[in-house]
């Protein structure tokens, strides 16, 4: 009699809340944006899908100058939002590179990124001055990683 093939083991990705009493569990959450930065040019933007999400723009010194989002009113999602950063009405002057995430939770994710930035640097990016005083306080563990 042939041995019955074993069912493939599907990894359980649900967090183990029972172990959450160990504070180190907090650090396993991907919170910071750590994807590689790419050039912020029209050619790169045009190649992006027209989806909703969040982005971070970094200047030539490596300083984050803006954290923004492509929301539901953008005609072409991320493309429209990033093209605006290149246009005459852009809020930042030295935008050179960027990274992004596609997410339908763009409002909460952008607020989260701003709060983490504020916790890490004690201030907001220069292009986010209008958020001053509107954000909550987050104290993520330093090792709370990215994605």
């Amino acid at each position: 009699m042939m041995a019955r093939p074993r069912r493939q083991q599907i990894p359980c990705t649900a967090p183990d809340f029972s172990a959450r009493r160990d504070p180190s569990m907090f650090s396993r959450m991907g919170m910071r944006m750590t994807k590689p930065l790419v050039e912020l040019t029209s050619a790169v933007i045009e190649a992006l899908p027209a989806q909703l999400g969040v982005y971070e723009i970094v200047d030539d010194t490596g300083t984050t100058v803006k954290i923004g989002y492509a929301g539901g009113n953008e005609p072409f999602g991320m493309r429209t939002a990033l093209e605006r950063e290149l246009g005459p009405d852009r809020e930042t002057e030295h935008a050179l590179r960027f990274r992004h995430e596609f997410t339908h939770g763009y409002l909460t994710r952008s607020q989260e990124l701003l709060m983490i930035y504020q916790a890490d640097h004690g201030q907001l990016p220069s292009g986010n001055a209008r958020h001053e005083g509107t954000l909550g306080r987050l104290s993520p563990l330093p090792e709370a990683g990215g994605n």
Binding site: F17, S18, R20, R21, P23, F26, M29, M31, G71, G72, N73, H104, G105, Y106, L107, T108, R109, Q111, E112, M115, L135, G136, R137, L138, S139, P140, L141, A144
Partner: protein, 388 residues
């Protein structure tokens, strides 16, 4: 049960309906489809307007300066207040004011001076920290946050999950286990200033509700003065439970408001959209969905008003409130689902509020006690507690 509105109730309903249509809905046209807040200038202008209408601070008891609105009228208002895009979780963008944490009305005079009155004046914000990673539906047994007395202070260690507003709160109502009793008789409520050393908001918890996040908070050797215990030692669960029961009627009414608006949109669409040589409204498949919507809406309305009227008469309304919450949250979810189906492709776009309500109504079946807990509450009363 009387389903007719009094002249005064009808006037209030009409006033709130006009306010939503004339003041709130036009502003939403310029906001992100998932937005949860108005521009601060609009917010301030509208708060002034609701003050002039005499409706500001709806849920504040009369003895603390509130308008003293009965539960039935409050439910009728909640049905109207949620009939806009952000209405489910931020009815009229908070321009009718909040009541603060209801538990603080039971606080000592000194606690009221420090926390309740500043909250009612809009100077402080509080958050309610009950649910833990170990569970939320049965908080009395799930609470693992531990409080240990050290002289005039208590040292709290543990964590809380899905806590709204902890990152912006000035103080938190924290429930911790303070005795060896594993159930409801070992839980104490503490009022904790969020700048207390050891109070950490560790992360944002993202959900289907993309306009507003929850948080996970951690207490690390956090010292709280014994004078900050709310109510009696080891009797904190009664304080938590009281809130859980009271909130269910307006919570259910909010669900119903979104369903009513979705039904209006579905009927309007069906009467104007043509397919296969006729209006959608002429197709039996669409007619039946509209009728099923109406059944769910009327069922929820009946249950909400029954619970509210019992509460107003001073009768026990725990079962009715649980039934209203269950029927309204589940029924409204079905209504919005059918409204999306009737609309077709445009129903799932962000051009309409339906997709947002669809996501947010899914959460309503869990928030303020999931459907299964509501059934448990009803079963206990219908069958009696002795079968346990």
């Amino acid at each position: 049960m009387d389903l007719m509105l009094s002249d005064e109730q009808q006037l209030i309903v009409d006033t709130v309906r006009r306010y939503v249509q004339e003041e709130i809905v036009p502003l939403e046209a310029d906001l992100d489809p998932d937005a949860g807040e108005l521009h601060p200038d609009d917010q301030a202008r509208l708060i002034e307007k609701t003050r002039q209408m005499g409706f500001y601070g709806l849920d504040i008891p009369k003895e603390f300066g509130g308008p003293g609105i009965d539960v039935t009228t409050r439910a009728l208002m909640a049905i109207e207040m949620s009939q806009h895009r952000a209405g489910l979780y931020n009815p009229c963008y908070g321009t009718f004011g909040g009541a603060g944490l209801a538990q603080l009305y039971e606080a000592t005079d000194e606690q009221k001076e420090r926390y309740l009155f500043p909250t009612l004046r809009g100077e402080k914000k509080g958050c309610f920290a009950l649910t833990e990673p170990s569970g939320g539906s049965d908080p009395a047994r799930a609470i693992q946050t531990r409080g240990v007395q050290d002289g005039d202070e208590w040292i709290l260690n543990g964590s809380k999950l899905y806590i709204s507003g902890a990152d912006k709160a000035d103080f938190a109502l924290v429930f911790a286990r303070t005795s060896d009793d594993p159930g409801r008789n070992g839980v104490t409520a503490f009022i904790v200033d969020t700048d207390t050393p050891g109070f950490h908001v560790r992360r944002v918890v993202h959900t289907l509700r993309s306009t507003h996040y929850a948080t996970e908070i951690q207490f690390d050797e956090m010292r709280v003065p014994a004078s900050n215990i709310l109510g009696e030692l080891n009797r904190g669960f009664a304080i938590a439970n009281d809130r859980l029961s009271r909130q269910r009627i307006p919570y259910a009414a909010g669900c119903l408001g979104a369903a009513i608006k979705a039904q209006e949109m579905a009927i309007d669409w069906a009467k104007n959209r043509e397919a296969f040589g006729g209006l959608l409204a002429e197709k039996q498949a669409i007619q039946w969905m509209i009728v099923d919507n109406e059944i769910d809406i009327r069922h929820a309305r009946y249950c909400i008003l029954e619970a509210a009227q019992k509460a107003d008469r001073g009768e026990r309304f725990r079962t009715e409130a649980a039934m209203a919450k269950l029927v309204a949250s589940e029924g409204s979810g079905r209504v919005v689902d059918r409204a999306i189906q009737i609309h077709g492709g445009v129903g799932v776009t962000k051009d309409l509020p339906l997709e947002r309500w669809y996501r947010e109504l899914r959460i309503r079946r869990i928030g303020e006690g999931p459907s299964e807990v509501q059934r448990l509450i009803m079963a206990r009363e219908i069958l009696g507690g002795s079968f346990k």
